[in-house]
């Protein structure tokens, strides 16, 4: 996990880690995605913006295999992962932290983290990763014996992210990590995401708080009715008045 050089992070010629091409998906009759194209380069934070129901969560679920793509191609580090099952995609290093965190009730913080390293057969590696997660989130170490579902919202979010890190993912898909958190914790969560990224993890972020997301991200896509309406560097999107008005409220 050597730190990526800073220029590699923003350089537009870094390796394409995730490529989504003309992906369509549907829930029953509802055509949720109508041909999504997006790309995430290694080391980047890329954000998906859009109103509720625009297809942000569906995009993440389709990428991670929880929803089947009707057409189109999804590639991870050049390898075609379209149609693979969710658990197979997770084993390839694309880990989805779903909306709602999915902390297992009745299991301790540590047991929840152990779930993240289930696919790692070597016990020493599991212990090392557990130690790394505790270093990154000391509060989880302090609470390791407590029921994970009794943690505060912010701590649960850390637990959900920590559990995903136990897999040492190449890319993390984060769905609304700030949802339901107090403003101070939202800032803290964003700090965590930045730190993870600086540590070398590539991130695809869906976030309701577009202002914060664009501060973190290198690049952004705006979804509308299951289509990409526009895309640009985060810097340019921040400066775009129509985006500011549509997704960030006034001011």
């Amino acid at each position: 996990m050597s730190a990526q050089p800073d220029e590699g992070r923003t350089a537009s010629d870094a390796e394409l880690l995730l490529e989504v091409e003309a992906v369509e998906a549907a829930y029953g009759e509802i055509h949720a995605l109508r041909g999504i194209d997006l790309a995430v380069r290694r080391g980047q934070i890329v954000t998906l913006l859009g109103a509720n129901g625009a297809g942000k969560t569906t995009t993440l679920k389709t990428i991670s295999g929880l929803v089947r793509a009707l057409s189109g191609r999804i590639r991870l580090a050049g390898r075609d992962i379209t149609g693979l099952k969710a658990h197979e995609i997770a084993r390839l290093g694309l880990v989805h932290v779903p909306e709602g965190r999915h902390i297992l009730r009745g299991l301790t913080v540590e047991e929840n983290l152990e779930l993240g390293a289930f696919t790692v057969r070597d016990a020493a590696t599991r212990r090392r990763r557990l130690r790394e997660v505790y270093e990154q989130f000391p509060i989880l170490g302090e609470r390791r014996g407590q029921d994970g579902s009794l943690l505060s919202g912010g701590e649960q979010q850390m637990l959900a992210i920590g559990r995903a890190l136990m897999q040492e993912p190449q890319i993390l898909l984060l769905d609304e990590p700030s949802m339901g958190l107090a403003p101070k914790l939202v800032t803290e969560t964003m700090g965590i995401i930045r730190r993870l990224n600086e540590g070398g993890t590539t991130i695809l972020l869906v976030e309701q708080n577009a202002r914060l997301a664009l501060q973190l991200a290198d690049y952004g896509y705006v979804l509308e009715n299951g289509e990409i309406r526009l895309e640009n560097s985060a810097e340019a999107l921040r400066a775009d008045r129509s985006i500011v008005e549509a997704y960030m409220g006034s001011g």
């Binding site: 099952k85 658990h87 197979e88 779903p98 999915h102 009745g106 779930l115």
Partner: protein
Amino acid sequence: MADDAASRRRRDPAPSRPNTGVAQLLAVFDDPRKFWLAIAVVLVAVAVAPLLFGQYATVILTNALLYVVLCLGLNIVVGYAGLLDLGYAAFFAVGAYAVAILGQQTALGFWAAIPFALVAAAAAGVIIGGPTLRLRSDYLAIVTLGFGEIVRFSARNLEITGAASGISGIEQPSLFGWHIDSPTEFYYVFALLSVFAVIASVRLANSRLGRAWLYVRHDEDAAEAMGIDRVRVKLAAYVIGSIYGAIGGIFFAVNLGAISPESFSFEQSVLILMAVILGGMGKIPGVILGAFIIVLGPELLRDLGELRLLVFAVGLLLIMLFRPSGIWPSRKS
């Protein structure tokens, strides 16, 4: 791993359990220092029971031990993997009919027939579980209910299963010249099967597969997002459960010497499920307790005559009312 289990037991918050006499008695098993002593006491009690209680009680206790095996098997499906199975008696039937038919139609002999019976039950588990375990939620309960009835109806209508009258004259087995035929001998056979069933259940619960079951039971989506193949993990539970059921059925058949479709009714499936839920899903001692209550309860209430099943049912309702997760629940439920 052993350390881990011990520390988990220590972490178990004792105050969450009501401080009643029964709870204190049950807590003895959760105390690692007294655990082996308690196991030894139970084993001695099982070993001497037939000497103390006479033939009738021995037959009833044998039935209770059969239920221990069946309930531990269903517990893997329901308690460990979190799948609702309403047709578990079907696997019990497959095991029983398989040895009975092989005993009549072939010259294999009892012991050589066992592997075939187990394979038949596992195949039945894959056939019914394979397509249905992909479904989420309660569809599985409906499919298993249907499967249970299909097996019973088939047994009642096929010639090879002896139709409604079933198969009789099933030969009792011999082992190294020792002919197993008295009720007491069968009692010890079932006691031994129960011990093996308990050991296998403990080992499964602590295995990698056991952890996968735990995660899938709690949150399928989270488990899948972390790389666990939920369909395969559930199918494993289903097949292992069906093998337990078949083992129960095999020895049930040779013990009674005759089987008929009515031994494998929906009621039978429900009774087994009831014992698992009553005792405490996922917790081995709880499931054993449940099996004993379901079998011994109606016997102990025999003096009440016609009222006994009513009283027994009210008793079960009261237990579920006051201990909704079972008499002796697992911590992780």
